[in-house]
């Protein structure tokens, strides 16, 4: 934490979001903390209902008003707590310094405006430019995101573009004001594989060119391995494991992470083994198991796991890896009883 480079661009501390329903409180995000450094691609991985989208939307303050933040929740962006900003100040940041792309580009683009105009709108809103300058900026952006024949495409409506093109337009719009943080919520889930590969390469290249930080939300471990620098694994509203992409895939510490990896059939393997599975399904958010939320699906769970909740702690002295488990897995994927004793003390 000495050089300026090491300063986190975004720091989330104890973010706790809840929704009260007639049946009780649902906590989509339960006291999570993480940070994003400048120029880093951080992936937030989890299954449906793990709270990954809610935690990302909190940064943009775009969550539904039903979602309440507990006092003490902090999202620091360049030293300012976003959760305490006035709406007017927030609007200055949104799309200008922090921008977002969504899963389905069809629903995020306005169907009755030409795409050139939609991109120009963002530019005009945040910067003082003449219409001519705005047009040049838009042309430049469309070229940058690899849209062929941008002059003609500018005057197209969203329905005239394919899914991959639309996602490129969304990316162009998100980059229009040279933001420092891009939040990408499942940016390739709705796309075909060959188009997905194009978009991932585009995001990676743009990141290298502009040095932007990216928070990538996905459920696809393949996408994570392809593009991320660091990974946060979420389960039931909590971060259960954190590490660099190499460490995490080499040696998953949390049984949930390992289970997720084992349940994806690999292309490079030959045997037609039975897939390893995680038994059961994601628990109902109203009836979360006591203790560790994963305990009733975990093959290594003991009685203690059902009583005491593990907290995210450093897994080793040398690295920044963190895991929330009483029995983190060892190098060969076995339970590390050694670690258990130190964790309890």
């Amino acid at each position: 934490m000495t050089s300026k480079e090491e300063w986190p661009l975004l720091e989330v501390k104890n973010l706790h979001a809840s929704i009260s329903t007639t049946k009780g409180n649902i906590i989509p995000v339960n006291s999570i903390s993480y940070s994003i450094k400048p120029g880093e691609i951080v992936a937030l991985v989890g299954e449906s209902g793990s709270g990954k989208s809610v935690s990302a939307l909190s940064i943009m303050r775009l969550n539904a008003p039903e979602i309440k933040y507990k006092s003490g929740s902090v999202i620091n962006y360049k030293g300012k707590n976003l959760l305490e900003l006035k709406e007017k100040e927030m609007r200055r940041l949104r799309g200008n310094e922090i921008s977002m792309i969504f899963q389905d580009p069809m629903f995020s683009l306005n169907p009755v405006h030409r795409i050139g105009k939609q991109i120009a709108e963002t530019v005009k809103l945040h910067r003082k430019v003449t219409p001519k300058e705005a047009k040049d900026i838009v042309l430049d952006l469309l070229k940058k995101v690899g849209i062929p024949d941008p002059e003609r495409r500018m005057s197209n409506y969203p329905h005239q573009l394919s899914g991959g093109m639309r996602q490129r337009v969304m990316i162009a719009m998100a980059l229009a004001c040279q933001p420092t943080l891009l939040i990408a919520d499942e940016p390739t889930t709705a796309l075909d594989v060959t188009i997905q590969a194009q978009i991932l390469t585009l995001i990676r290249n743009l990141q290298e060119e502009t040095g932007i930080s990216v928070l990538l939300i996905t459920h696809d471990l393949g996408v994570v391995a392809e593009i991320a620098d660091r990974v946060l694994v979420m389960y039931c509203g909590k971060i259960v494991e954190e590490g660099t992409v190499d460490e995490l895939f080499e040696n998953p510490l949390h049984p949930y992470t390992k289970g997720l990896m084992a349940s994806v059939p690999e292309l490079s393997e030959h045997s037609k083994r039975r897939l390893e599975t995680i038994p059961g399904s994601v628990p109902n958010p109203l009836e979360l198991p006591k203790g560790c939320n994963f305990c009733d699906r975990c093959p290594y769970a003991s009685e203690e796991c059902g009583e005491k909740e593990p907290v995210l702690t450093k897994a080793s002295a040398e690295s920044d890896r963190q895991v929330a488990c009483w029995y983190p897995l060892g190098k060969k994927g076995e339970i590390n009883h050694y670690a258990k004793t130190s964790n309890f003390s």
Partner: protein, 326 residues
């Protein structure tokens, strides 16, 4: 020699787009444009391709939900086109759908959903049907007392199990699985794939497994057909296809799949240029030539035929010559 269970012979399906004067149909989307395919008893044929390649349309034609515009489908040598044959053979052909939320009637109990096919085909007494439902619920990994509940009380994975039970109730010989796992969470997908495999081993039925997820296709299929814009690009034994892909599209498709291993990040990849052309106006000649990295001058004019490139594979590409002279 073994006879195919189901056999598609040069099947085509065209959908009209808009209409001209006096409702005259003049433009067509060629969703499926001349596909021949045999599925043998007890095997799984995977159908893979990107959106708009016609894979779901093939599935729907096989179970008789739509009729082919041209070409024939045979089930054990009986032509499957008219109403009478469909009614008689229909119970041998069942389907599992992609979305487990919209494919179950929310107002019916699970037991009613599963036994509905039996009721329609007038099989068994009430008691026998009920017994069969209980058996099936247990077969797909749900408790038999769940029969009285409604679909909204189940998670996506459980609903997909109910859909499988419904497909099994008539003891079909072929099940068309149309993207059965793509709407499910990763950890649930593996459970469903394992279940489908177990059922196949127990009952010896065949699957036509349609998916865009290549990992799932590889895991479950014996043979794989790769489709591109309504045509088959390559058809091969699974191992042959993955070890030795021949068609440039298959190669690109395989290399586009993100591998869950960061060490493979810098592997050499074939990145296709551009988008899928619209199926209503497919390119002349080879349909893939607009995006193909190996395209030659003649690809723009000549349409390649599906030829045997080895004993275990067929490819429709002008780069290859017929290896096995017919």
């Amino acid at each position: 020699m073994q006879k195919p269970l189901i056999s598609l012979k040069n099947v085509k399906k065209y959908f009209p787009v808009g209409s001209g004067l006096f409702g005259k149909r003049d433009r067509w989307v060629k969703a499926v444009d001349g596909v021949s395919l045999d599925i043998y008893p007890g095997e799984t044929v995977g159908l893979v391709g990107e959106s708009g390649c016609g894979k779901s349309t093939i599935g729907r034609m096989v179970v008789g939900l739509t009729n082919p515009t041209e070409g024939e489908i045979y089930f054990e040598d009986i032509k499957l086109t008219d109403y009478r044959s469909k009614k008689k053979l229909g119970k041998n052909l069942q389907m599992i759908f992609q979305d487990p939320y919209s494919s179950l009637n929310p107002r019916m109990t699970i037991a009613d959903i599963i036994q509905e096919p039996l009721v329609l085909h007038k099989i068994g007494t009430k008691k026998e049907r009920r017994k069969r439902v209980d058996e099936l619920l247990e077969r797909v990994g749900l408790a038999s007392h769940y029969g009285g509940r409604y679909p909204n009380q189940f998670s996506g994975g459980q609903r997909q199990r109910i859909g499988i039970a419904r497909a099994l109730v008539l003891e079909p010989k072929l099940i068309v699985c149309d993207e059965p796992v793509s709407a499910l969470d990763v950890s649930i997908q593996a459970q469903i794939l394992n279940l489908l495999k177990e059922i196949q081993e127990d009952m010896g039925l065949s699957y036509l497994f349609i998916a865009h997820g290549i990992q799932a296709i590889k895991h479950i299929s014996d043979k794989v057909a790769v489709m591109y814009l309504g045509k088959m690009a390559e058809f091969a034994k699974t191992e042959e296809l993955f070890n030795n892909p021949r068609h440039p599209y298959t190669k690109a498709l395989l290399s586009a799949v993100p591998e869950p291993d960061p060490k493979l990040r810098n592997r050499e990849r074939i990145l296709l240029k551009g988008d899928l052309p619209s199926p209503s106006n497919p390119p002349m000649g080879c349909r893939f030539h607009t995006r193909c990295p190996m395209a030659m001058e003649k690809c723009k004019e000549m349409e390649p035929r599906l030829l045997s490139t080895s004993e275990q594979s067929m490819t429709a590409c002008l780069l290859y010559k017929d290896k096995i002279a017919t």
